[in-house]
Subunit: 286 residues, 2 copies
């Protein structure tokens, strides 16, 4: 990515450490940054960077901040746990103007909120770019990410779990699956990846899934319709711990299409648990 000749990259920051990582990566590549932390969500350490705090009632202020700093590119990154409470907001004029649209976006679900938000920024004249475009180490190149080389049987489970995760992605149901000893044993939907891994651990504990020693692979893939600029499947240290508790041999992700949050700690836990994290290519990056 070319540097924007002094124009700061705006990072609209939800929760977690990834927004800080993106800010550091941008600075490291010679870009200026402006971190716009969402109140109640963003990590307090954003104060180490040029920053402003914003809330859902300050969309007019956000628009002015972006313009005043000469922003061209915007990254939206980090989790957002709470929904805006429109009854308690003290909306500025910019928010009031967008309120009917925001409420309708909220009512239609998470995907609509993200695509709607991108559209608003684009109407204002900005480009929304992916965090992984600013910080390419957030995603994996094909091959071993951490841990030992998968054995032949593990690679069969890698292929099967990846096929299953892609299959349910097409159904818009979930992003993850577990295959063990040549069988698909778990598919993710509303329970989420951590919930699915807890289920696999319970099935093993109750003898419903039998295997000597570590076996099985968690695969995580992007859905074909997912906008990877703002909505990437993610693994992180908790995923590794969940996979280890489920007695799995490793984790497979799509190269370039799945984010690794807190990569240093993720790799450390992977090695500590004796698992592998393996990235497969084969599907064009979006």
């Amino acid at each position: 990515m070319a540097t924007s000749s002094g124009r700061p990259l705006a990072i609209i920051a939800g929760g977690g450490s990834v927004p800080l990582h993106v800010a550091a990566a941008a600075l490291g590549s010679g870009r200026k940054v402006l971190v716009l932390g969402i109140e109640g969500e963003a990590d307090a350490r954003i104060v180490d960077y040029p920053h402003e705090w914003i809330n859902w009632g300050q969309i007019g202020r956000l628009e002015k901040l972006l313009a005043a700093h000469g922003t061209r590119d915007i990254v939206l990154i980090g989790g957002v746990k709470s929904r805006p409470d429109f009854k308690r907001l003290r909306p500025d004029l910019g928010t009031v103007r967008l309120l009917p649209r925001l409420i309708s976006m909220m009512a239609s679900g998470d995907n609509t909120v993200l695509t709607g938000t991108i559209r608003i920024f684009e109407e204002w004249g900005y480009s929304v770019v992916g965090a992984h475009e600013v910080s390419p180490d957030l995603v994996a190149a094909p091959g071993i990410v951490a841990g030992p080389t998968p054995r032949s049987g593990d690679l069969d489970d890698v292929r099967l779990a990846i096929a299953a995760a892609r299959g349910i992605g097409v159904l818009d149901a979930g992003q993850a699956a577990v295959a063990m000893n040549g069988r698909v044993v778990a598919l993710e939907a509303s329970e989420g990846t951590d919930g699915m891994l807890e289920r696999v651990a319970a099935l093993r504990a109750h003898g419903r899934l039998k295997s000597r020693g570590p076996a099985g692979v968690l695969a995580k893939c992007a859905k074909p319709q997912q906008d990877l600029r703002v909505d990437m499947p993610t693994i992180g240290p908790e995923t590794v711990t969940g996979a280890a508790k489920a007695g799995l041999a490793g984790i497979a992700i799509e190269s370039g299409r799945v984010m690794i949050a807190d990569r240093t700690e993720t790799e450390r836990r992977t090695k500590e648990a004796g698992l592998f994290v393996f990235a497969v290519g084969g599907q064009a990056a979006a």
Copy 2:
């Protein structure tokens, strides 16, 4: 199905009430029956019908019994919970002869056991027929099976859940899915249908799935590669109770391709819980 002019239908009976139902249906249509109850599995009430008890060590005896009764058609029906313990068997000559083949079938998983068993019976000169061919009321015609007519939103969830269940069937992962308010919220794999329904109930109890009043549909479909003569997806009274506890509006099944065990009790519980059971057509019966 034509009657076999005095030749008894052999019903190799695993657990549950369905083998008894098939025996009664065959007698009701003017056929003779011979129920061959698997020891430790079949319901004790098979003694109300012409019967013999058999175990995994008596394959030679089974072969002689079938021949002595002039059998032509065989139904394999009912659950088998335990695997044969080849170390504790006292095998007759017929079993000894088949032992290497049986052990290799067991090692390759449930599907191989079923297709391998069919092949052995066919090599002996018998036809394996589906329980639903003898007792067509075990499956549903398209339309309402029990309970009220699904509302328009429920029909959307019926379509979505059926599409998801068929989608994971293609992956050979599971046979069932739950859709709620236009989203796929659960996909079945090794936890089974009852386990998946418990998960949906827990997600609702913890507020992870929100809905006022009953909402959502459990769909159950046959996998495309499933041999419906010996391996049909099944719903029954426990499925209805599980769906009610998960707060669902109803259950959708494929017509002709999903068995309804204990239909009287299944329909009674469906009405009592205010659910619907709805059968969709559209896929050719195998």
